[in-house]
């Protein structure tokens, strides 16, 4: 959210050609005039925009990123407090329709330089090759127009650059070019409970790959980042720089190579010429409308704001597919309380993983899911108890006095696209005078079967682990789809290189272009896709094809 207040110190610094680092110290940043025709404007600085911005800057292009939120200095600005950290969430109101209406805000939508990586749990499994061929394998959803082999080099690059902590070897999926650069993070209470129970049940587990450092780590253009201190507040923002959010990784790299990151700049419109090319991006900063001239636009605002901006501008939608194929991951959580002291606020929340349920033999559904142990912050848990169990009065307070004994497991599972799940513009305007998006979401039979399968299994695991008062909280995670990537201009919005079929200098590089949801957390794949889109663009640019 762009708050309409007096300019912050960080903002004034930027105008002088500097940006804040982790501690709020100024680092020099090249700045461009809005009348300079820059090579590219990148809209959004999350898992899509930030890596792409760095790649283009490294290639010597003049690039400006427009980010709706603030440029925080995490060590200075982030509190270990969920309420204070609500500032990391996108709070322009969205309307949630359908039989399984989605929560946005702190569930899946960030703002600020770094986007949703500011609040992601940093769980970074790769996809397995068959995730990209769901239609071939099951006759549902859609195949990706690219295969695993095209993503694998980018996964490898990302794992090394971000400093992923993870096991060697990783027990699932194809062999790796290189192992994770850092050893796994330590297991917290929830992970130990899941590990113990799964071992007796014959379910393989492993310490999870996490984008948080198990040891201090150096990368050129970024500098040293300190090791994770086992704060369990990843979803409220990391204040040490150990978590590989974009603000401490690709953003400083991009700035070091001459990119400008223009925070608190909310994009509203595009200007186009007679040839249908975008010539300028219009945005509001400090309540003043501005226009940045540019040769190319990379839209990386996520699966809600990307299609919303295109629909508002009636752009890139000859296919009628913008806003269609909205998906979310099945994300059922199972909670229990244990005799042991768990203290679920400590340690990386998702410390343990199992992908033995990637394609379960007993499945009556397409796709599969992964299992992860989860710690939880107190207010997040309390809120889920209120919503999910409906406890109130003395019963609520009694339950929460067991908070230190709470541990959870959850799934991250496939979710299929359906005609009934889509984003549209509502007639209701927000404080900016723009139509609020309405998102229709209703789980289909596949999601219900997958969730039932997972509910049974997770309850067995938690019973085996010794949990009492087991309960499950149905939820959906992440926003995916709405601007499908494909080979056919009639059914997709962008091609396999992220380029719009309609507007030749518009590219989309975020989770909105995923043709299918994938049975893994999306951040690493968004980054891989963004780097690939940047490389395809640069290759064509060298041949004068853009």
């Amino acid at each position: 959210m762009t708050e309409r207040t007096t300019p912050t110190l960080a903002q004034r610094d930027e105008r002088a050609g500097v940006a804040p680092d982790l501690h709020g110290r100024s680092i020099p940043m090249r700045v461009y005039a809005t009348s300079d025709t820059v090579d590219a404007v990148v809209i959004g600085t999350g898992a899509g925009g930030a890596p792409l911005l760095a790649r283009l800057a490294q290639a010597g292009l003049k690039v400006v990123a427009l980010e709706a939120g603030k440029h925080w200095a995490a060590a200075r600005d982030f509190a270990t407090d969920e309420r204070a950290q609500a500032k990391l969430f996108w709070t322009d109101e969205r309307l949630s329709a359908g039989d399984d209406p989605l929560s946005f805000g702190n569930n899946n939508s960030g703002t600020g330089v770094g986007g949703s990586t500011l609040h992601y749990t940093a769980y970074v499994p790769r996809v397995q090759p068959d995730d990209l061929r769901l239609h071939t394998e099951f006759g549902v959803s859609a195949d990706w127009p690219i295969g695993y082999d095209e993503l694998a080099p980018y996964y490898d690059e990302l794992e090394q650059f971000l400093g992923i902590s993870g096991p060697t070897p990783y027990p699932w999926g194809p062999p790796r070019q290189r192992s994770y650069p850092l050893a796994p993070l330590p297991l917290n209470g929830a992970a130990q409970l899941m590990q113990r129970a799964c071992a007796t049940m014959g379910i393989r587990t492993s310490p999870a790959p996490n984008a948080a450092l198990s040891g201090s780590y150096y990368q050129a253009g970024v500098g040293w980042r300190a090791a994770c201190t086992n704060r369990g507040y990843c979803q409220a923002g990391c204040n040490t720089g150990a978590k590989a959010s974009m603000d401490v990784t690709y953003i400083p790299l991009a700035i070091a190579h001459g990119a400008e990151v223009r925070a608190e700049s909310f994009v509203t419109r595009f200007e186009t010429n007679e040839a249908g090319r975008i010539t300028g991006v219009v945005y509001v900063r400090d309540g003043i409308e501005q226009r940045q001239l540019c040769r190319h636009v990379f839209l990386c605002a996520g699966a809600i704001e990307t299609p919303r901006l295109l629909l508002i501008n009636k752009l890139a939608n000859a296919s009628g597919q913008v806003g269609r194929n909205f998906m979310a991951h099945t994300g059922l959580q199972v909670w229990g309380q244990f005799a042991e002291d768990v203290r679920p606020y400590k340690g990386i929340p998702g410390a343990l993983i199992s992908e033995d349920t990637h394609r379960p033999q007993s499945a009556d559904f397409a796709g599969g899911y992964l299992l992860q142990s989860i710690g939880v912050m107190p207010v997040t848990y309390a809120s889920q108890v209120a919503r999910g169990r409906g406890l109130w009065g003395d019963a609520l307070r009694e339950h929460l006095r067991g908070y230190n004994h709470v541990a959870g497991i959850n799934i991250l599972g496939e979710g299929l696209p359906y005609a009934h799940n889509y984003l549209e513009l509502s007639a209701e305007l927000d404080a900016r005078g723009l139509p609020k998006p309405r998102v229709h979401f209703t789980n289909g039979a596949n999601e219900r079967r997958l969730t039932a399968h997972a509910d049974k299994l997770m309850r067995e695991i938690w019973t085996q682990a010794g949990a009492r008062d087991i309960w499950s909280f149905p939820r959906s995670a992440h926003t995916i789809g709405t601007c499908r990537m494909g080979n056919d201009a009639a059914t997709a919005v962008v091609n396999a290189e992220g380029r719009s079929f309609d507007v030749p200098n518009l590219y989309i590089a975020d989770n909105s272009i995923f043709p299918s949801a994938l049975g893994v957390n999306p951040a690493l794949t968004i980054m891989a896709l963004a780097l690939r889109i940047a490389d395809c663009f640069l290759r064509r640019a060298r041949h004068g094809e853009v």
Partner: protein, 203 residues
């Protein structure tokens, strides 16, 4: 289930130490010092009184001399026009939903006991709230405002306000704010010296 009882004063003591980062201390101490809302800015006096009565049942705090001000936090949020980023499409905007819902509590109270919600005893107030939570309450309001959603939204927000307060954190043994030096002892049944220990565990 294990329901621990923790000593009072733990979080307040931690806030005085370097185990808490400056931004964290600032956020929590400000919340501790926050005066109660006596004159609402969003609700009128009648609705605010109904809200306070509902808060006293949804999250009762009989043991506190001064209860954590839940109604005031909701009033402030709505007066500031802040959102958490989404709402149910079948619900009107937050402010309108809460105003209408609180009037709905009175309608349901009238239907059941011929008395406004605020004037009922605790047992009867609970009956009204339970009927609203189950979507079984009577009242004109609930024909157009989904009672279950109203209840869920109200309860979730009050719960978040309550457990964000340092005194509620003391109640549940939450020491998560004292992380300035990180955590080394994170295994089951492991504690740092400054993590509060339960006085007793009741089953």
């Amino acid at each position: 289930m294990p329901a621990d009882n923790y000593p009072t004063g733990t979080v307040r003591a931690l806030l005085e130490t370097d185990l808490v980062t400056p931004p964290t201390r600032h956020a929590l101490q400000e919340r501790l010092r926050q005066p109660d809302v006596t004159t609402p800015r969003f609700f009128d006096a009648r609705d605010f009184a109904t809200l306070r009565a509902a808060c006293a049942r949804l999250i009762p705090q009989p043991e506190r001399e001064q209860a954590i001000d839940l109604a005031g936090a909701l009033d402030e949020r709505l007066a500031a026009g802040k959102s958490d980023g989404w709402r149910y499409d079948q619900m009107p905007p937050d402010g309108e939903a809460h105003r209408r819902g609180l009037r709905g509590l009175d309608e349901s109270a009238q239907a059941l006991f011929a008395t406004n919600f605020q004037q009922l005893d605790a047992t009867r107030q609970d009956e009204v709230l339970l009927a609203v939570q189950r979507g079984e309450a009577h009242g004109e309001t609930w024909r157009t405002l989904p009672a279950r959603r109203f209840f869920e939204e109200l309860l979730a927000e009050l719960t978040e306000v309550y457990y964000s307060h340092p005194l509620a954190k003391e109640e549940i043994g939450d020491a998560s704010m004292a992380d300035a030096h990180g955590w080394q002892k994170i295994s089951l049944d492991e504690h740092e010296a400054h993590e509060p220990q339960a006085l007793e565990t009741s089953e």
